[in-house]
Amino acid sequence: MHPFQYQRAESTDQAVAAVAQNPGATFIAGGTSHVDLLKEGVHRPTLLVDVSALPLQQITPLAGGLRIGAGVSNTAAAYHPTIQQQYTAVSEALLAGASVQIRNVASMAGNPLQRTRCPYFRDPTQACNKREPGSGCAALNGYNHVHALFGASTACIATHPSDVAVALAALDAQVQTSGPTGPRTIVFPELHRLPGTTPHLDTVLAHGELITSLDLPAFAGRSHYLKVRERASYAYALVSCAVALEMNGQTIRRVRVALGGVAHKPWRLHKMEAMLAGQVPTEKLFRTAADAAFADAKPLAHNAYKIPMGRNLLVRALLETSGLRPLAGPAGTAFAASVGGMAGQLAGPR
């Protein structure tokens, strides 16, 4: 591990100033992902500014919506009654991710800022433009089974790993930040970047810009998160899907859909959303929409399996959200959010 100094921030302003004035500085909150990157030598900061004790730990009502403080733990957010009932996809995404131990410590702002799980990024002996700009991409002609279908570049084919980021993107959450040039608001789908020629930049956040809260706008529909993993629990998504659905009688008033595990950011399906608006939900409609959504997917050597998997997942998530198919477990839990494995076993004898 590269040597670093450590400093506990006394206030948001002080934290921002401490990082902004030092190019080698970075924030640390829960550290559940960050400490691992320090150990791997992927992150090599010279100063860690600890923001975990800042008073950003509250969940408060906000103009029909909800403000989640940046430092709220994943556990506290997942089991918050309003989130579980009104923003179900957020709870489902959180509880289908990581383990109890990690969720207890990981922060809500830190979770969407996780770095990719691309194995080449995490191995400093491999070429990786995200870790070391200009060094190349070992994944491009490597074993790229967990890599992107959409929006990739020749510089980087990594995917974004966060589950909850996908749910927040579907719900159009707003990111409040405090930075060297003052506060600003970023709409969630615009927080993360596509790799282009600058894959070392995951987000639009400036150096020293600190997320202070995630704001969920008012939402009266149903939302749902569904995830496919390589094992029953405690694994990153191969493909995942978040749906936020608002009905008008028997027809879809508005639906927002984001995919996880297929791009460098939560991948919103705007064209499909427009196509579904005003329609009566049926399996045939969803199947047609899903086929169209994946028509422009660009598979790599080892990830073409994600296309049928993603199409089927998308159809199932839409069916479950619209009530045409029952959830695999209680809404707002990991069981509703998981495909295979333990999902569905709850129905059996206890």
């Binding site: 450590y6 559940t32 691992d36 990690i102 629990s233 709850l346």
Partner: protein, 341 residues
């Protein structure tokens, strides 16, 4: 009157002759390499984890060397308050000496009371010592070097030494224990940790994970290092009553939190119900993941949110704790027994 007491024997010196607990002179072991481990007399080599390591040492060393042993053939350390310890200049200290066939000290390490032996430090010393390439398994290396077997054995012996409790005054005499890490770097910072109700003042590099501070600095080795990357759960502790991974938590960031380790779970001699249930239900085989499993389960039973009403829900909630022996059915049975009680 011979060698003055407390003048430490140096590498390259001919080892002083002295009387072993068996009554034989140390020089009677000439002709084979010898490892001398000095430790407190309360150390009991028959404790399971210690005897396992010494059995392994015995195997590695084969017939080419000897530990100082008793008539019962049990590997045993030498009392650090014995005359022999004084003759080696290490009275009251944890120390390890490696003697070659001629009785010359080839390597030594001493851990003063209140100090820690860092495993990295030992390995660096051993690597420096191991100067000659391995030519063939079990073959003596060129002059001055150690054979691979000796090197392996010395490494294991050093590892064994790390497990020995501190010599001199007992740490439990005081509620505040000062521990200075060996090989101090200029970047160390004061860190105060509250562990199992006791406050510990440490000087730590900010890079030190809570797991390593517990194990290496405070000798609370019940918390296990499995993967060291947050994938296995062996290092699970409680932070303010909630389960957390000590390998992904910097020690310096754990200040001000109530840290509970497996050592702090029992109430005196009365085991925690989860510990008792793991025994009753045979919820382990090798036992390495067990402290983490128990800590995760104990926190879960106090957790007002995570659903644990069925075996499936328990399995989901315990999915952060891996068990390579696959004792999962018994682990779930043990937790359910506590729930029913």
């Amino acid at each position: 009157m011979g060698r003055p007491l407390l003048q430490a024997v140096q590498t390259g010196d001919l080892a002083p002759d002295g009387v072993l607990p068996s009554g034989s002179p140390l020089s009677s072991l000439r002709g084979q390499p010898v490892i001398l481990a000095f430790a407190p007399d309360e150390w009991n080599p028959m404790l399971a984890h210690q005897s396992t390591i010494f059995a392994r040492l015995s195997q590695e060393f084969g017939d080419g060397a000897a530990f100082v042993d008793t008539a019962t053939d049990d590997w045993q350390s030498l009392d650090c308050r014995s005359t022999l310890a004084a003759q080696f200049g290490v009275a009251g200290q944890r120390a390890l000496f490696l003697l070659d066939e001629q009785g010359v000290v080839r390597w030594k390490t001493v851990v003063s009371p209140g100090q820690d032996l860092q495993s990295g430090q030992v390995l660096t010393a051993l690597e420096a010592l191991y100067t000659s390439p391995v030519t063939a398994d079990n073959e003596k290396a060129a002059s001055g070097g150690l054979s691979r077997r000796t090197f392996v054995t010395a490494t294991l012996a050093a590892a064994a030494l790390l497990l020995l409790p501190g010599c001199g005054s007992s740490a439990s005499d005081s509620h505040t224990v000062e521990t200075a890490a060996a090989g101090t770097s200029s970047d160390q910072v004061p860190v105060v940790l509250t562990i199992n109700g006791l406050s510990h003042q440490l000087q730590l590099d900010p890079r030190v994970a809570l797991l390593d501070a517990l194990r290496e600095n405070l000798h609370l080795t019940g918390t296990k290092k499995g993967c060291d990357h947050g994938q296995c759960g062996a290092c699970t502790v409680h932070l303010n009553g909630q389960s957390a991974l000590s390998c992904l938590t910097l020690a310096v960031m754990s200040q001000g939190k109530n840290i509970t380790t497996i050592e702090g779970l029992a109430q005196g001699d009365k085991l925690h119900p989860v510990q008792e249930a793991f025994l009753q239900h045979d919820a382990f085989q090798c036992g390495y993941c067990t402290p983490g499993q128990i800590m995760a389960a104990a926190a879960l039973l106090q957790d007002p949110h995570t659903p644990t009403g069925s075996a499936v829900e328990l399995r989901e909630a315990m999915s952060g704790n891996l068990c390579r022996c696959a004792a999962y059915p018994n682990i779930i049975a043990a937790i359910q027994a506590v729930q029913r009680a």
